[in-house]
Symmetry: C2
Subunit: 348 residues, 2 copies
């Protein structure tokens, strides 16, 4: 017959024939309990199947040992990896993580964060939708520790961890330039998102570095999935002066670009060179393996968690350590059509 009543510390105390707080001390390895008592208490707790309540402890200590993690969509491989990194770190510290998906919807993000505040999570890791900032400012006002992951606000002085998207965008574009391309298209996304804007900035910078003018008609915006990339590519490729290469905001879009090219009978990389971003697991396994920019995704999640834990420890983190910018890595495969003159790797 099931226990309808959860065993409390009082039950253990009664069973062990001592007071409640002796049990508390014994079970928490605090000094001031004889070894004999301790053994007896542990035996009682074990036999009764006592499991301490974090709820009760949290009320008293005002620490829940829980982290809130808000991403836009756990279904996106990038966030999936990030989540895994955060959960691994939290688990190692004995922390729980409460996961929320905003679905790139501002209202849902606001509600999720409110829920997390109600739950009194010790701190939060957030990939903000970047539609507005009030609710983020609210966290500061309430002095709830948090760190932004993968995206940041220009006007808000907060902790954040991300990779250098501008550098990544520049590297991708420079590669194409070094291969002789002069008309390079860019598939981008919603410009409020810092990572979107920064990759675009990198693209522009690479062109400008070479003294080239920016042709705005080569920059097209679409959804961040395969079909979004496909549609953008069709728009680019139907133009009279179509590009010979495309750098896409992410791998999913890049795959869509390759698909669109195939639909038009274009061969990759001969007729169109393609570079993506994220190095998703399957990008290496396509018909034409995808050249892409790899983010140190797991490290981003791990660093963000580590930074948050430092904040939770109450250590005052030096301003320089409040933000972490990790470097991405260009992975050259076949879809870009060859290696730049000074690169070592050759496509298979």
């Amino acid at each position: 017959m099931p226990n309808t009543h959860t065993i409390t510390i009082a039950d253990v105390a009664r069973d062990a024939g001592c007071s409640i707080n002796t049990v508390s001390r014994a079970l928490n390895d605090l000094p001031g309990v004889s070894l004999r008592s301790k053994a007896r208490i542990q035996a009682s707790a074990e036999r009764l199947g006592y499991v301490p309540s974090r709820v009760a402890r949290s009320l008293l200590t005002r620490k829940t040992r829980t982290l809130g993690l808000v991403v836009t969509d756990c279904t996106n491989p990038f966030y999936a990896k990030l989540i895994r990194a955060v959960e691994d770190a939290a688990f190692a510290h004995g922390y729980n993580v409460t996961l929320c998906n905003s679905g790139e919807d501002h209202a849902r993000e606001v509600r999720a964060i409110k829920l997390l505040i109600e739950s009194r999570v010790d701190g939060m890791l957030i990939t903000p939708v970047q539609f507005a900032v009030d609710h983020i400012g609210d966290l500061v006002r309430r002095s709830i520790p948090f760190v932004l992951v993968g995206r940041r606000f220009l006007k808000l002085d907060t902790c954040w961890v991300m990779s250098d998207n501008a550098a990544g965008g520049r590297a991708a574009t420079s590669l194409l330039l070094s291969l002789g391309h002069r008309r390079i298209g860019h598939v981008t996304g919603r410009p409020e998102i810092s990572s979107v804007r920064e990759r675009l900035e990198g693209y522009r910078a690479a062109l400008t570095d070479q003294g080239m003018a920016i042709d705005e008609s080569l920059i097209v915006r679409g959804e961040r999935d395969v079909d979004g990339g496909r549609q953008c590519a069709h728009r680019l490729l139907s133009s009279s002066s179509r590009p010979t290469a495309v750098f896409a905001y992410n791998d999913l879009q890049a795959i869509g670009v390759m698909r669109a090219a195939r639909e038009r009978g274009l061969s990759i990389p001969r007729d169109l060179a393609v570079v993506g971003y994220d190095n998703i697991e399957l990008s290496a396994y396509f018909e034409v393996p995808l050249t892409t920019v790899a983010q140190p995704t797991y490290a981003i999640g791990g660093s963000a968690a580590a930074l948050l834990f430092r904040l939770l420890d109450g250590a005052d983190v030096a301003p320089a350590d409040r933000t972490v910018l990790l470097q991405p890595e260009l992975i050259v495969r076949a879809s870009s059509g060859g290696c730049p003159p000074d690169a070592g790797e050759r496509p298979a």
Copy 2:
């Protein structure tokens, strides 16, 4: 200057000039508060930035409005989708979800579940590692509601939601048989896992249905990723009497199989027909689009959450409703080499 002190219900009561429980009633829309008081209280709460503490409420109500979700790896697209479904359902009910990854490691699963018990989650959704069952039995003993997702135990009478893996395995294999294949290989996984075993059973059943003998040498076990599939395929293809078709436990392995075939100069589907399982997003976009078995993943997560909520409502669920078996769907694309005689869809 940040509030170092969180606003409590007492602060609101003081501010509004009434008692604590009038505030509680007003804010919880309970009857017995004049409209005037209610308005005043709401204004105070708003102005002070009061956010009720779920921790305190939980201690009293013994309900945390939190679900525990244990998967093996959120990085796996199948689980990512499942997580999303569960989180969406939980969010709609005002519930939080605490996510844990077992990493297919029994000890970590046990620890994770212990953590969730300590956290007094109202219920759990679990994809068990299936190395042992004691800790699951423990949940029953403690009468903590839970439902298994995607995997089940034969010897344990629990709630579960999954898709019919045997039917899926049978459909995949039958398709290949109907196309004339007589030597069909199967790439499988760790047999303790129910979904692995059941897909294999479906494979065997399809062959037996046709009065064919099972050639055990055509069943090879490997890791559940691209490389695992690749290695298995090489083992199968180096055999003297190699198969003309392969059904893989999942799409990642199937992609590995296609890769191995290409490495050996074999063309798909001409020299080797391939069928996967899961219908991951990118499976349609490969050089040879992958024929696969689609699970209603989002529905599995949603049903599991719905079932758990019914359990939490205290409704006694009829035995027939304690388990849900959803039907998978065969998605025929090019990798299987054509359509069975009676199927409608033709590969592109």
